[in-house]
């Protein structure tokens, strides 16, 4: 994802994905949740295709 998604698309994403996660969004929260999620997607778009080389992020796990 390299561009911010359309706000109406984000609202549709909330409507469709949240129930699948067992996360009912209260109707009075729907608009604000979509707005906040759009902000997070925009943050993701800012990272977009930014080249980070071979940055390794595996958590260090000691068995």
């Amino acid at each position: 994802m390299s561009a911010s998604p359309d706000p109406s698309e984000v609202a549709r994403y909330v409507d469709e994905i949240a129930p699948l996660l067992g996360l009912p969004i209260p109707p009075e929260c729907r608009e604000a949740v979509a707005r906040n999620l759009a902000g997070l997607f925009a943050a993701g778009a800012l990272l977009g295709d930014f080249p980070v080389g071979d940055a390794e992020t595996a958590p260090v796990f000691t068995p």
Binding site: Y13, I25, P26, G39, L40, G44, L46
Partner: protein, 459 residues
């Protein structure tokens, strides 16, 4: 006005005053002042009296109750305190069972003789910069009660600045010790990620959560930090490093330390007075050098994605079953965080690795960086937008503009309160490479000695 922590300990240890008297007076100050400030969510009169009696009894039989003997302190209410449900600023957690032991850092302070007086207000689950808590009320700035104390450790900063306690504990994920320390005019330390144990502290953004002290002087800050250091098997994130005491190093001065001002991101989008504060610190330290850390807006974006995702995952069951019991200030952001795709989260973590490498390059020939703590002094309670450099922006996230990129990669930072004629306090961040807290303390002590910084404690 309340005396500083080390000053109290010296008096108690010399038996010129009893810990019981100190505790009684501190509890009285809380009783009189706190209704106006809204710092405390629980006051522990009985256990404080018992702890103080134990300190006095140890001294009476020739024992050593510790370097913080009789020092009153209080902790953000996300730390476990035996006998209390750990609220973490929420209503939901009030129904949880009481903690059966203290958080490690609380236990270490009590073990050093400090007397715990109570727990302090915060943004719900630490997700905020203002401590405008819907359940427990806002914490008010002691220097102007119409203004926020900052957050999320707002109760901690205001309790110190309001003269209620000389020492408090907070936590910092994106700026939550440094922002309130700056807005209230006290010293706040966010140590290196992994330096202090988080065992028994309610977590928020597990990749960036830190705990640390707030105090009214550099000596007090170091004394508290020193007794909390050390490995802790109860916290897998806590590094296995031995204690590196900073208190004994405060008089070393700044000779040999390479100091520079952070340019670019850290020198734009703030009010002129915050940059003047940074300049006053730079002038005092005799540096005109400026260095630039790249890509700080992307660092903030990545930190926001990671914090929102990790925070939501910790509260998933409550978000599903009782969303309307969350604070309206956090609810919609947590729900949104629960819907972030994993690919976005991993991308943010990969960027974090890249950014850490760039910042390590900067610290190859710099020991201490200077940056503003916040872009403006304390805003009004309830204020949603603020004009910065002529542009209106949402107020609350802007408070983390200069703090968020630094905690993102776990750097140690002290926010120092700048002395001067400003009507409201301002803070400057002293930033070092990982594990170099001692450099921060040497600089902070020199600035305090030279009168460039000074805590502002309400009379």
């Amino acid at each position: 006005m309340a005396a500083g922590a080390l000053a109290v300990a010296a008096e108690v240890r010399a038996r010129r005053v009893t810990a019981r008297e100190v505790t009684r007076e501190a509890l009285e100050r809380i009783r009189v002042r706190d209704p106006r400030l809204g710092c405390f969510t629980a006051v522990l009169e009985d256990s404080a009296a018992r702890d103080a009696e134990a300190v006095d009894a140890a001294l009476a039989r020739g024992g050593d109750p510790g370097p913080l003997a009789g020092v009153p302190f209080a902790v953000k209410n996300l730390f476990d305190v035996t006998g209390l449900a750990t609220l973490a600023g929420s209503k939901i957690n009030a129904g949880h069972p009481a903690a059966t032991c203290d958080a490690t850092v609380v236990a270490r302070l009590r073990g050093a003789g400090a007397v715990l007086l109570g727990t302090l207000n915060m943004d719900e689950y630490a997700f905020g910069f203002t401590t405008e808590n819907a359940h427990h009320g806002p914490t008010r700035n002691p220097h102007d009660p119409t203004r926020v104390a900052g957050g999320s450790s707002g109760g901690s900063a205001a309790a110190v600045a309001g003269g209620l306690v000389p020492l408090a504990l907070g936590s910092d994920t994106n700026g939550s010790i440094r922002v309130p320390a700056a807005l209230c005019g006290v010293y706040g330390l966010k140590p290196t990620y992994g330096r202090l144990s988080r065992a028994g502290a309610a977590l928020f953004g597990i990749s960036f959560d830190h705990v640390g002290p707030l105090a009214s002087s550099v000596g007090d800050l170091a004394a508290a930090y020193d007794v909390m250091q050390g490995p802790d098997p109860a916290d897998p994130v806590c590094a296995g490093r031995e204690v590196e005491p900073c208190g004994p190093r405060l008089d070393e001065g700044t000779r040999g330390l390479r100091v520079a001002v952070a340019d670019g991101h850290f020198a734009t989008r703030g009010e002129p007075e915050v940059f003047a504060a940074v300049q006053s610190v730079a002038d005092s330290l005799g540096t005109a050098r400026r260095v630039t850390i790249p890509e700080n807006d992307r660092a903030r974006a990545a930190a926001t994605i990671i914090t929102s995702s990790e925070g939501a995952s910790l509260h998933m069951e409550d978000l599903r079953s009782r969303p309307m019991d969350f604070d309206p200030m956090t609810r919609d952001r947590f729900l949104a965080g629960a819907l972030v795709p994993v690919a976005l989260y991993v991308r943010a973590q990969r960027f974090r690795t890249w950014y850490r490498a760039r910042v390590r390059e900067v610290f190859a020939d710099v020991d201490v960086l200077l940056a503003p703590t916040t872009p403006f002094p304390a805003p009004r309670i309830g204020q949603d937008v603020i004009a910065v450099a002529g542009v209106e922006v949402p107020m609350r996230p802007m408070l983390g503009l200069y703090t968020q990129p630094l905690s993102f990669i776990g750097l140690p930072v002290i926010s120092v309160p700048v002395a001067g004629p400003h009507p409201l306090p301002l803070g400057v961040q002293l930033v070092a490479a990982p594990w170099n807290e001692v450099a921060l303390f040497r600089v902070a002590a020199a600035l305090e000695r030279d009168g460039v910084t000074a805590a502002r404690i309400a009379p």
